[in-house]
């Protein structure tokens, strides 16, 4: 059988590239959307400058989270992922899967959080006196959208640090099964959080926008926002369950 050691590094570096590369796609686009909406709003209402700038920066900081998770996993893969465990084919699959999971898993939340930030900036310029309430709602909404990136981070860390060591009776067949299971888990959680991440972002973005326009209905709006976001989250939780099953019971 081929030596796993040399493949470990290949897998770690490939995983590192996928993790940050994919995770940055939507953070960039989302933050750009927020900045664009803020610029548009400023052109209409130059007086709302300070509050608008603050909300834009806060929203971009939260949108960035997913990309930072991707960066953390990349650094772990480059500097520590392959180093401290002797070569095993389990680890070869797990390192690639960890990078893929984090990279794909950040895409949806990034779009969602960016959309929410943009919607909040756009409504603040119309009604600057609702600025605080809208910003609070925006932060809650972005946090809801980012939970999906946290699911992906959990799966990535499990793949990095809880891989079994091969025993004397481990055959090539076991390796093939386990590597596929790890890749399957990363695809499940990575793509599975894309839809919920974007969906929750849409709910919270529209809710922030409406909260600014119709402040009197804020109770009903937040209630519907939480209910809708929770239902939208359900499929991400199914994906998390399947990923756990694939990692631990295969």
């Amino acid at each position: 059988m081929m030596q796993a050691d040399s493949f470990l590094l290949i897998s770690a570096y490939l995983g590192a590239a996928l993790s940050t590369g994919l995770a940055s796609i939507s953070a960039g686009i989302g933050e750009g959307y927020a900045a664009g909406e803020a610029a548009k709003a400023l052109a209409k209402q130059p007086k709302s400058g300070d509050g608008l700038l603050r909300t834009m920066l806060i929203s971009q900081a939260v949108t960035e989270t997913g990309a930072i998770f991707g960066l953390v996993i990349s650094l772990l893969l480059i500097f520590g992922g392959a180093g401290h465990i002797a070569g095993s084919w389990f680890k070869v699959g797990a390192l690639l899967a960890a990078g893929l999971s984090m990279g794909l898993g950040s895409i949806g939340p990034g779009f969602g959080a960016g959309y929410t930030g943009g919607q909040a900036c756009s409504v603040i310029s119309r009604l600057p006196k609702e600025s605080n309430r809208v910003t609070t709602n925006m932060l809650i909404g972005q946090a809801l959208a980012q939970t999906d990136a946290i699911f992906a981070l959990v799966v990535s860390l499990l793949l990095l640090y809880s891989v079994p060591n091969p025993t004397a009776s481990t055959t090539l067949g076991h390796f093939v099964v386990k590597i596929s299971a790890f890749l399957g888990a990363s695809i499940a959680i990575g793509i599975g959080t894309m839809g919920p991440g974007m969906g929750i972002g849409f709910v919270t973005g529209r809710a922030s926008n409406m909260l600014g326009r119709f402040p009197r209905e804020r109770g009903a709006i937040s209630r519907t926002m939480f209910l809708g976001a929770a239902v939208s989250e359900s499929t991400a939780i199914y994906a998390l369950v399947i990923a756990f099953l694939l990692i631990f019971f295969s």
């Binding site: 949806g108 969602g112 055959t171 090539l172 067949g173 076991h174 093939v176 099964v177 590597i179 596929s180 299971a181 890749l183 399957g184 888990a185 990363s186 695809i187 499940a188 959680i189 990575g190 793509i191 599975g192 959080t193 894309m194 839809g195 919920p196 991440g197 974007m198 969906g199 929750i200 972002g201 849409f202 709910v203 973005g205 529209r206 809710a207 409406m210 909260l211 326009r213 119709f214 209905e217 009903a220 709006i221 519907t224 926002m225 209910l227 809708g228 976001a229 239902v231 939208s232 359900s234 499929t235 199914y238 994906a239 369950v241 399947i242 990923a243 099953l245 694939l246 019971f249 295969s250």
Partner: protein, 81 residues
Amino acid sequence: MDLNQAIVKAAALLGAGIAMGIGALGPGLGEGFTAGKACEGIARTPENAGLITRTMLIGQAVSESTGIYSLVVALLLIFTA
């Protein structure tokens, strides 16, 4: 483990991941869109809040069904294949 059996098992597990992953995309997006529009509707016509929430939940339940199909298929692939 026999290599032939292992390859079948491996394909089933990878398939479970793909099924659940892509299967969760649509419902997540669709339910989010529904709820976003419901928030808009409730803000504009708060007197219809009950009706709008009910319609939103029914629509989301229908949209969820394909997510549940994916979950069932993924579980079947993990435990029976």
